[in-house]
């Protein structure tokens, strides 16, 4: 065994093409990664194609047939409509409601994380690069905020905006407000990581050289520092996405998220809650199940991504 010839001197000079690299290699070898990525991809596709895939358009409350309310799965309605997963108390088709609800969840989740990342990165860059008072203020705010759980922050922000504007305005702006409220609870992680990386990069020779030759600050930040930041940010984002999706669902369930007229997985569960004792389990459990599948898929993929990118980040 010890006589195997692996000449140490013959190390390859160029890294292999990316599709043969460690990352992809690890991906195809890990069943967890493949399954979770597939699930997430499929759900994403479903959400994007919602108007084409869903049997009924549930965004318009007027179209629902109240007569067909609370029908169990695989039923046929009064006028011959097929409801493969049953209907809710308003007569909306569960399958369609779930697909549109999935769409909302993903929209809010991705939007919130995107916003949080953008703000967090910007604040982290500013904090790390300029230091001094700016740094102190931002980091204090981060410390204070990170001791509060996301749900509470999102709840309070949503609550405050609700008291600031009247009902109809608030309903119309529900989605952006929700995205902002959830983003507000997640920016801290990005800011901290980015700030740390900026502090490291700031002292490097190439940055000092750029500053001496008069390159503008913004250019330095974007051209040199930002690319290094994207890896860790991606990992944090994937892990946060599941939490953001669950936060939206929870807020909708509590009645302070998406208004009940628009489809959302959380509000579907809420509606179904009242009918558990009557035995209409599908109204709550099916959207709940979909939510679990989505969150598990994103979570598992995020975990795998974090482990896969780690040794490379260390180098």
């Amino acid at each position: 065994m010890s006589d195997e010839t692996l000449e140490g001197a013959d190390a390859p000079d160029h890294p292999p093409a990316w599709w043969r690299g460690d990352f992809v290699h690890g991906f195809v070898r890990s069943p967890v990664a493949i399954v979770s990525a597939t699930i997430v991809a499929m759900l994403l596709l479903l959400a994007i194609l919602a108007p084409f895939v869903a049997p009924y358009d549930v965004r318009d409350p007027a179209k629902a047939n109240v007569v067909d309310a609370r029908l169990p799965p695989s039923s046929t309605g009064m006028f011959g409509d097929q409801y493969s997963l049953g209907t809710d108390p308003q007569g909306r088709d569960m399958l369609s409601a779930m697909i549109y609800g999935l769409r909302t969840s993903l929209l809010v989740g991705l939007g919130a994380i995107g916003l949080a990342a953008a703000c967090g990165i910007a604040l982290g860059l500013a904090s790390g690069y300029f230091g001094g008072t700016i740094d102190a203020v931002i980091m204090r705010a981060a410390d204070v905020q990170s001791s509060f759980p996301a749900i509470l922050i999102a709840l309070l922000i949503d609550g405050i905006t609700r008291t600031l504007m009247d009902r109809t305005t608030h309903e119309a702006l529900a989605v952006p407000i929700l995205i902002a409220a959830i983003a507000a609870s997640f920016w801290v992680q990005y800011a901290r990581v980015v700030r740390g990386l900026v502090l490291v990069e700031r002292g490097r020779e190439y940055v000092l050289a750029a500053r001496v030759t008069g390159v503008r600050t913004v250019t330095i930040l974007f051209r040199h520092i930002l690319p290094n930041v994207l890896g860790p940010v991606l990992v944090i984002a994937t892990i946060n996405l599941a939490l953001a999706i669950l936060t939206e669902a929870t807020l909708s369930f509590l009645g302070v998220g998406i208004p009940p007229t628009q489809p959302s997985l959380g509000s579907l569960v809420r509606i179904g809650n009242e009918f558990l004792f009557s035995g209409d389990w599908w109204i709550s459990l099916m959207p709940g199940g979909l939510l679990v599948v989505l969150s598990l898929g994103v979570n598992l993929f995020g975990d795998w991504l974090r482990d896969a990118l780690n040794p490379r980040l260390a180098s």
């Binding site: 001791s147 709840l155 609550g159 405050i160 929870t250 509590l254 569960v269 558990l276 679990v292 969150s295």
Partner: protein
Amino acid sequence: MGFMIGRLGQTLIVLLVAALVSFMLFRYVGDPVNNMVGQAASLADREAMRTQLGLNDPVAVQFARFVGDVLRGDLGMSYRFGQPISDLLLQRLPATLELSLLSILLAAGLGVPLGVWTALHPRSRSAKLLMLASLAGVALPTFLIGIVLILVFSVWLGWLPSFGRGEVVSFGAWTTGLLTASGLKALVLPSVTLGLFQMTLIMRLVRAEMQEVLRSDFIRFARARGLKRATVNYDHGLRNTLVPVITIVGLQFGNVFAFSVIVETVFQWPGLGLLVIQAIQFADVPLLAAYIVLVALCFAIINLIVDILYAVIDPRVGAAQLARGGAA
């Protein structure tokens, strides 16, 4: 000592900021005068009312008055309930507190031993199973867990109630459900729901920390000195693990506060969480403002206690070092 003063200072700043937010909300959102005099009053009457309420005084004065009121326990009147808010809060506090404490006890009581066990036997089958199950705790939203538990234990099996506190016994201002059978039964599902997520969190934390500690040099040195396995794992290993864990569990108490909002909604538990949901839904501004101050206060106190605890337990940070005056 400097450490203490710094922490207290930070706490005060947080409280002031929360008070400010709350005050802004209270003063500028909705019109307190409108709510008091109704639509028909004339402009002159309103002006008189405003001056009488002190609403025409400079902002700083109003803020000072607000803070003074809060410190005296006067949090104003709830729009929706028509009662003094401080009364409302005190009424609902025992319910939330009992629920929170019970669920933390459950979470830590199960989470810590399980975490230790999976750290000591990382490659055993049950450890892998537990880690997989803990994933469920992270991926399942709390409200769904509650609903599934209701479905199984209330609807299908009929063993436990699905809403309310059951019969409660009063001790002056405090009401407890621990002394009646129905009260205890009512506590089971909500505290399990609330505690499950925390438990998986604690278990994973303890496991990660302990594995980290077990890899450290002093553990290796302890084994090299021939100390007994139990001594190495528990006396040295567990003690060092628990130091950061205890502080995080303390912070978890704050998390429980937030999640109690969800659990109280699912189980219609008459606590503070349900109160704040109602406040938001009915735009009950004074109540919401008071809740913000209360939350900030609770978190600040919890954080302070945790920091003090950490300083006491870890000799590197603690008063012991301060007393001895540093390295020799």
